[in-house]
Each structure stands twice: as C-alpha cells, then as structure tokens.
C-alpha cells in the first residue's frame, strides 16, 4: 500500500509535467502553422510596446547602412520622375492611362524586432490592422522579398520571413521562367533553397531568381536571390538548388507591406476552376 502511494505520488508529478509540457508544445507547434492568437507574441500590446522601446535604442546601430540604402532607392525613383527625363518621341500623344490600373499598394513599416539564427525567424513590424495590414499579405524590402504577414494586431504585426522552414513562396528563374518553391534549410541567413524544379530543365549558376506572382501575394519580378549551386536530389527527378539571398536580413529595418487591390477578384475567379477529384 505504501509503495502504491509512493508510486502515485511520483506519477502525479509526471502527470503535471506532461500536462504543462503538452500545453507548451501544442502552443508552439500550432502557432508555427496557424496562429490562433496574438496574445503570446510580440504583436500584443505590452510586448509590442517593449519592442518599440528596444527598437528606439537599437535602431541607430545600422543607421549609416540603412540611410545609404534609402538614398540609393531615392535616386532610383528620382530617375523615373518626369523632370529627369527628356521626351524623345514627340510624335506620340500621351493620353490619360486607361490600360494600366494600379494593382499593388505599398505600406511602409519599420522592423521592431528580428532574429535570423533561429530555425524559424519572425520579424515584428510597427504597423497593424489600423494601417490595413492583415494576415497573408506579402512583405518586401527594396532589395528583395522578406516574407508573409503571419499575425496582426491593432498596431503591430508579425512577419513569417523567408528564413522559416516552410515559407513556400513561388519563385522562378527570371530569364527562362522555370519555377519552384522557396524554402530555407536553417543553416545560414544568407542562403536559401528552391525545391521542386524538375531536373530535365537546364539551370545556370548566378542566374537571377525572382518571385513568380502566381498567388497574388507578391507582384511578379521581386528579386529573391542568385543561384549558388545546383545538385541532383538522390532518387528523385528534381534539382536541389541553393541560392544567395539578395537581401541582408540581419540588417533589415525598412520594409514595405504589399496590398493587392485585386486579390479578391483573383480568388473569386480561381474558385470557379472545377475540382477534378470530386
């Protein structure tokens, strides 16, 4: 009898341990794939405020680099202004543009908190639902793709970056249009991988990889990186492609959230595709 009580006593400790462990692990694994709440993340208001204070101190660390980047971007935009260009063809009469309609809008935000060496890296941004940022929107910087919005609260949002295991952004080789899915092996924040490219297609080292724009999250042609190495996957007719990212994620501060103004229309028309399996 005494042994039984002792046994139960020991077992009771383990039960409490197992229950709490279950809570922690289920919270971790469910949030990896689908965020249930924003309470345990830096998108919640107290934690977000702390991150803001933290960012007030650390934002100056890479100031010179970020200023240079913004300056460079300004030059590029300035080149496109009408005043920087001479009209070459005087024979063409320009009419009000009805051919192009704006599809993507950009919301400027700042990265408050970021990690790059974890297995799955998330960034916190200083804008949320009040700025029109919702789950599923794309995030880019001026050098390349950053990630997809994972959760957003009123004033903060969290980005699932390309430095996570299954980000699965559809990308393609810029010249040839060969496409695959972007993944990350977790080894280095400079190197990503592109999977599911069939190995009967030819690829060249150093060719540019850009977004394909198929899912309507990113516009077509946002830079992702350059091909570093091409290997064959054993036992599968696929290439294992490693790429150098074009953005330095460790220093990133200024990013843009992409709002696709026509996403609803695209989703609606894609729903009309008949499902063969049914």
């Amino acid at each position: 009898m005494r042994n039984l009580i002792a046994f139960l006593k020991r077992f009771r400790i383990f039960i409490v341990f197992a229950i709490l462990q279950g809570v922690a692990l289920s919270s971790y694994f469910t949030n990896l794939s689908f965020p249930r709440s924003q309470y345990l993340t830096t998108a919640s208001s107290l934690s977000g405020k702390m991150m803001e204070i933290n960012n007030d101190v650390t934002k100056h660390f890479n100031l010179a680099y970020n200023n240079r980047k913004l300056q460079y971007e300004n030059i590029q935009l300035r080149r496109k202004l009408a005043q920087s260009n001479i009209k070459i063809d005087n024979g063409v009469i320009k009419i009000n543009d009805t051919i192009f309609q704006q599809q993507y809008d950009y919301i400027p935000t700042t990265v408050l908190n970021s990690t790059v060496h974890k297995r799955n890296n998330y960034f916190t941004l200083n804008a949320g639902k009040s700025s029109g940022i919702y789950r599923g929107m794309g995030v880019i910087s001026n050098n390349g793709v950053v990630g997809i919005i994972h959760t957003s609260s009123e004033h903060f949002s969290i980005v699932k970056t390309v430095l996570t295991e299954n980000i699965n952004i559809d990308v393609m080789v810029e010249k040839t249009g060969v496409y695959g899915l972007l993944k990350w092996s977790g080894k280095s924040p400079k190197i990503g991988t592109v999977s599911s490219i069939s190995n009967d297609l030819s690829l060249k080292k150093w060719s540019e990889i850009v977004t394909r724009g198929g899912s309507g999250i990113f516009p077509k042609g946002i830079p992702v990186g350059k091909i570093k190495s091409i290997k064959t996957v054993e036992g599968k007719p696929l290439w294992d492609v490693e790429i150098y990212f074009s953005e330095k994620y460790a220093k990133l501060q200024n990013v843009y959230v992409i709002k696709n103004l026509l996403i609803k229309e695209q989703k609606e028309i894609e729903e009309t595709i008949p499902n063969e399996n049914e």
Partner: protein
C-alpha cells in the same frame, strides 16, 4: 520573506536579460546563449516540485511572450524544472545540502556548480534545439548547436553571478 522578494526580482531580471539581451545577440553557427536555466537552478532546494514546475512554466512563457517563440522556452524551462530534483539527488554532496543553501558558485564552489550546471545546460539546449528544429535529418546540426552553445552559456551564467551576486560564503 527576503527570499521571496529576491527570487521575484530575479524572475523579472532573468526574463529581461534573456529576451532582450541574449536572444537579440546572434553570434552565428546557430549559437544561442541560455542564461534562463540559472534562475531555475538557483530557486530554493526545498521548493515543492509542483511550485517549481509552475514557476518555471510561467517564467518560460514570459520569455516566449517577448521573443515570438510560442512556448519553446516554456517547454525547456519545464523540462529542467522536472529533472532538477533527480539531478540534485544524483550530485548531492556526501553530507547533503545545507538547509537554505543557494547553489551558487560562492556556496558550492566553481567545480560543483560547473558540473551540475553543464548537465542542466546540455539537457536544456538539446531539448530546445530539438523542438525548434524538429527533424531527425538535422540531428547532427542539433548536436553541434547544443555543444557550441553550452560553454558560452556556462561562461555567461558564471559572469552574471560574479557581477551581481553577493558573496555570502564567508559570512
């Protein structure tokens, strides 16, 4: 009473230090400096195992709250809290621990502290990176990260004690 105040201050201090300083440091090679096990390690030996686990769980969740890890720290903190009594029984000095002793470098000496804390760190780091990575294919990388992170974490934990803890051994 003084003990409760002391440990409460440490609770918040360790959350702050782990979440805002050591989690922001990214050295490379997947190294992550873990100082939060020190808080759990230094909780009173007499503390009830249930209280120990609950405190550690809340402590871990608080770190998760500030670093977007959704329960990863809570899981590791809980594991070392659960294993702590077994470890202390195993490493107990011949005469037993002094009542009310704090297992810091000053009271237990560098040798004992390092041995016990390295064991805690190895368990903690391995569990942490295993859950974070969660792929058997990357198991060697997990071992590498565990082995590289442990000495740095031990060094940081000893430095924290030397800098902020009072030497109470010769009182």
């Amino acid at each position: 009473m003084i003990n409760i105040v002391k440990h409460s201050i440490r609770f918040f201090a360790f959350i702050f230090v782990q979440a805002f300083i050591f989690n922001q440091l990214e050295i490379g090679l997947g190294i992550q400096i873990m100082v939060f096990p020190l808080f759990i390690f230094l909780l009173p030996i007499e503390l009830n195992i249930f209280a120990l686990m609950v405190v550690s769980f809340v402590f871990g969740i608080s770190i998760d709250y500030f670093s977007n890890t959704y329960g990863l720290f809570a899981s590791s903190a809980l594991l070392i809290a659960y294993l702590r009594p077994f470890l202390f029984k195993f490493l107990e000095p011949r005469d037993g621990f002094l009542p009310g002793a704090e297992l810091s470098i000053y009271q237990m000496g560098y040798g004992w502290f390092s041995t016990a804390f390295v064991l805690i760190l190895l368990i903690n780091n391995f569990w942490f990176f295993l859950i974070e990575q969660f792929k058997w294919k990357e198991v060697w990388y997990i071992f590498l990260k565990t082995l590289l992170s442990t000495p740095l974490s031990l060094g940081a934990s000893i430095l924290i004690q030397m800098a902020f803890f009072k030497n109470t051994s010769n009182k």
